[in-house]
């Protein structure tokens, strides 16, 4: 089945560019260093968010104005579009650990979500090998429920089956170190305990392409160390890792390539030393 879809997409890919049918016969020259296999290809990606209820001062949000706009057929003025990612292209190879840096709102998290296939592109495309997954299950958990129930719910949300959940359960409780609190609702947890349990659940699954958003290494010093070790282990197991962080030390330590995003575009892409030096200069 995998082969047949591969064939199909190959055929599809060649249809529009008719003169380029020689691709398979004479493969285009690889990037100079080595024949590395690409795992993630981002091709001129644009992501546009729709945001509701963001009226400017000129168009105040009262009912009369809303009616006038409707009568004048001005459409939906409260709807603003945010162009979060504007034409990003790059290729990630097997074994890469890519750090993504940039100011707040430069599109880092949006880019990660698009690579994970969770945000539909406005134009352009993301091609991946296997299913990239975002490290994080916060959205699936429910504060009113006990830690026990949330562990099960979170594991199912990540796509584990009942047997895997039973196998991982004790490990998750141990790793989070919350002890008997696992029987209390998560709403009674301190913020550190909540973060620890969430990280323990999220990191219980192995991934092909791993996407790590920042602010994961939370909790006390002990847990920080434990979670960094686990991220390191997951990185070794995964084929390709993307890491978003504001802590540049972490990126310099763990990544072999850094992409600097600025206002939704790639400002720089290269080895960590050069890019981070430029980034620090502003």
């Amino acid at each position: 089945m995998a082969e047949s879809t591969e064939e199909l997409s190959r055929v599809k890919a060649e249809e529009p560019g008719a003169p380029r049918t020689d691709v398979r016969v004479h493969p285009a020259p690889e990037p100079p260093q080595a024949p590395r296999t690409p795992t993630v290809v981002v091709d001129d990606l644009h992501i546009i968010y729709r945001v509701y209820g963001a009226a400017t001062e000129a168009e105040k949000g009262n009912a009369a104005n809303a009616l006038m706009r409707l009568l004048k057929r001005q459409g939906r003025p409260q709807m603003k579009e945010v162009h979060a990612v504007r034409g990003v292209s790059f290729v990630a190879y097997h074994g890469d650990a890519i750090g993504i840096v940039g100011r707040n709102g430069s599109g880092k998290s949006t880019l990660l979500r698009a690579i994970a296939g969770l945000l539909p592109p406005h134009s352009g495309a993301v091609y991946t090998d296997g299913q990239p997954s975002l490290l994080g299950v916060n959205a699936a958990l429910m504060r009113e429920l006990t830690g026990e129930r949330n562990i099960v719910l979170g594991c199912y949300a990540m796509g584990l089956n009942p047997q895997q959940v039973r196998e991982k359960y004790d490990d998750i409780v141990d790793f989070s170190g919350i002890g008997e609190f696992v029987q209390f609702p998560m709403s009674t947890y301190s913020s550190g305990m909540g973060a620890r349990l969430r990280f323990a659940i999220a990191s219980a699954k192995a991934h092909d392409v791993l996407l790590i958003d920042e602010a994961l290494a939370t909790g006390d010093r002990d847990f920080k160390r434990k979670s960094q070790e686990r991220i390191k282990k997951m990185r070794e197991e995964a084929g390709t890792v993307f890491l978003v962080a504001h802590n540049l030390d972490v990126i310099e330590e763990t990544c072999n390539r850094v992409i600097w995003l600025h206002k939704g575009k790639i400002k720089m892409d290269g080895d960590p030393k050069t890019v981070l030096a430029a980034y620090n200069k502003g």
Binding site: R24, D43, R50, L145, G159
Partner: protein
């Protein structure tokens, strides 16, 4: 296992776009195709989609149960409310329509008639309104994790189904208390509930897709639901009121009886109450709506699978 089979979506997207080649050798789309990479966001074929959904059945069930548990977790009586809520509802309807408004004159065993109608209608109503919110209210979940999106409206319907099972227990007790006897027809009740559930799943899938883009639906839905409530003969007999009292032609009554909510209500009344007069073709109407809604709903929802999450 959750890898998208992207053939169809690729065709829909009009093939890969001509991106600017980053390294100046070949378009990225061709590089990706040469190495067998697939679109990160792509709609699987319908059979593959159903298979993925089946693999996520544990998530659907756990999510539904969890939502039900967390709903009452802050109250002192806790899960007892799952029984108390339908009981109190039944009491209020009976007080309002049975005693004060006096709608019960021509109908035998009005309490059973009313409460059956109310519980059956509430199941459909809550499933459909839940489905309308299931995508738009869970954007953070959709933007964080990978799963067939139909799992969400499905979980909302199953949540209501669990609630309904408790309501049905209350309903049986009330019906028995109002001098109805247990008959062989009661064995068909699970079949009736299955048909209604099929319809509810389909309808909530349709509204989930509509609600994902049309923000105003949640404002409008209460009015649609109230109209539906009145059109379905929950607390009056459609035949009596529409034809005999209001003097409207018979086809208006027939059309109202053919609407899915009225059909499932009438079917349940036929099964539960001996005094209730069965409608002709009631089973055919119920089966038609169940199959039509389920198949149509899944197809309609699946068509936009890759677009959910944009907001």
């Amino acid at each position: 296992m959750s890898q998208p089979e992207s053939a169809i979506a690729d065709a829909q997207a009009g093939g890969p776009s001509d991106g600017t080649p980053a390294k100046g050798q070949e378009p990225l789309a061709e590089l990706a195709a040469r190495h067998g990479l697939r679109r990160a966001i792509a709609r699987p074929s319908l059979p593959a989609y159903l298979r993925q959904l089946w693999e996520r059945r544990h998530f659907v069930m756990t999510y539904a149960t969890s939502r039900n548990v967390s709903k009452y977790s802050n109250s002192a009586l806790g899960q007892l409310w799952q029984v108390l809520t339908p009981l109190l509802n039944a009491a209020i309807y009976w007080l309002m329509f049975g005693l004060i408004l006096g709608a019960s004159k021509d109908i035998e065993n009005y309490p059973a008639f009313l409460i059956t109608g109310m519980f059956v209608f509430t199941y459909t109503q809550r499933s459909v309104s839940g489905g309308a919110k299931s995508i738009s209210g869970n954007l953070s979940l959709i933007r964080a994790l990978h799963f067939p999106r139909a799992a969400l409206p499905l979980a909302y319907t199953i949540q209501e189904f669990q609630q309904l099972l408790i309501s049905m227990g209350v309903l049986f007790a009330l019906v028995l208390a109002t001098q109805e006897a247990v008959t062989w027809y009661w064995l068909l009740i699970p079949v009736a509930l299955l048909l209604q559930t099929m319809f509810n799943v389909g309808a909530s899938l349709v509204l989930a897709r509509v609600g994902a883009t049309a923000r105003d639906l949640n404002q409008l839905l209460p009015f649609i639901m109230r109209t539906w409530l009145y059109a379905s003969g929950v607390f009056f007999s459609i035949g009596d009121k529409v034809v005999d009292s209001a003097g409207l032609p018979q086809w208006v009554a027939d059309a109202m009886y053919a609407n899915p909510a009225a059909a499932y209500i009438e079917l349940m009344r036929d099964l539960l109450m001996q005094t209730h007069e069965p409608r002709p073709y009631i089973w055919s109407v119920c089966v038609f709506w169940a199959v039509f809604a389920l198949i149509g709903g899944f197809w309609y929802f699946w068509r936009a699978e890759e677009k959910y999450g944009r907001g």
